[in-house]
Symmetry: C2
Subunit: 246 residues, 2 copies
């Protein structure tokens, strides 16, 4: 018997808490009654990746070399699918995945497609994300391609989003940060947004630190959508989850 | 600049939920204010590992080949430390780690040493674990080496422990399973145990599904102890967490 390598590779570490959360969502998205029915996965979680936003909006160090090392490590492990548990990193990863021969399941594209399938044509969607993701226009472009318009917070409000993300990365997320995000969501709703994208893997964790059970706007979680799409695609590639023969 | 490989390897997938929980504990155990201060980690989570208990107490398939493939995959990724997020797997892993040149940080030894440091000499410790871990006598031997006696549940009570573990693996953990574990802990306490080992990575998750805030016996969580020891040892090996040069 030759054991086939794990089919799913997760590039994480941006940040580590969001990687924990993404793998938790992947496990929860997998229909399985025993260990053996879950997906074999390799997670490359190297938090030394330089800040993606600093590279996109300023003169920060290029994260490409560390991202390339992670993609190469996953490819060497034999995975075929690549999921990246960081929205902002999608500004850098597509050519690295292609060069390594991995099929990237884009968190951006999966989210835009889901929004297009559930919102009225031409709807406006708010975006809570890092300044890097906002500046990269990743969600703007993917949503425009499916007929949706993206609305981003004004600079003062964006600063509150950035602070809430930083608090999760520092392990200090609290109800204050969640309340700030709720106010930003309210402003986006008042400006015409019909839903919002939690477009940074830390945003959902920041919102969860609050006590408000009723969000002012429907919030879609790209990490959760990505988890379900990874399960669907992995099962297409290897229909029998217990298949151990290559 | 040559990027050094991640120093920590985690062999998981036994089960996936426990792997999520272990990585969460590792992140929580790391003093860090930014992503870049966290430990670079590779997680090999292949749930195709045949049931460890079935191999230890019956005629189940030998898990060694799949475990060896995971250890080899982590070694090929360049890690130096190996943490295994499954107690029962420690009946198989030590020679595989040695053959691959990896330093195994044993969840069993870390736990026995902590118990010896916190309990009176000669104390009795209860064990909630799989039938495989019980039969392997991993904890019996490690605790005997530090002067502690391990007490295990009677067969009917062990069956309730086994059922609670299976419920976590199936994603159906609930308050009933947690209450059953609380009763087993009560029996162990009445028989003289001064503390108990949550000696299967799923036990803490099973207990957390309950509503009881006050355990009948102090329960030590080997996964949490292992997480802290991995952080300590990784920082010894690579004192500057941002060190990216090999």
């Amino acid at each position: 018997m030759t054991l086939s390598p794990p089919v799913v590779g997760i590039l994480g570490g941006m940040g580590p808490a969001a990687t924990v959360d993404f793998y938790r969502k992947l496990v929860a998205a997998t229909p399985a009654a025993t260990d053996q029915e879950h997906l074999p996965v390799v997670i490359w979680s190297d938090p030394r990746v330089p800040d993606r936003t600093a590279a996109l909006v300023g003169d920060g160090e290029d994260p490409t070399p560390v991202l390339r090392a992670g993609v190469a490590g996953l490819a060497a492990a034999g995975v075929r699918l690549l999921a990246v548990a960081c929205n902002t990193a999608h500004a850098f990863v597509p050519p690295l995945a292609a060069a390594a021969g991995l099929e990237l399941i884009s968190i951006i594209d999966v989210t835009a497609q889901r929004l297009a399938a559930t919102l009225p044509a031409g709807a406006t969607v708010g975006l809570l994300a890092t300044e890097g993701t906002v500046a990269s226009r990743l969600y703007h472009d993917a949503c425009a391609a499916v007929g949706l318009t993206v609305l981003v917070p004004e600079p003062a409000e964006q600063a509150r989003v950035t602070a809430a993300i930083a608090a999760v990365k520092a392990g200090t997320a609290d109800a204050t940060g969640a309340a700030a995000l709720a106010e930003v969501l309210g402003t986006l709703r008042d400006a015409g947004a019909e839903a919002a994208i939690a477009g940074c893997t830390e945003i959902v964790l920041a919102l969860a630190a609050g006590t408000d059970a009723d969000p002012v706007l429907p919030v879609v979680d790209p990490a959760d959508l990505l988890a379900h799409e990874v399960v669907r695609r992995a099962r297409e590639l290897r229909p029998d989850p217990a298949d151990a023969a290559s």
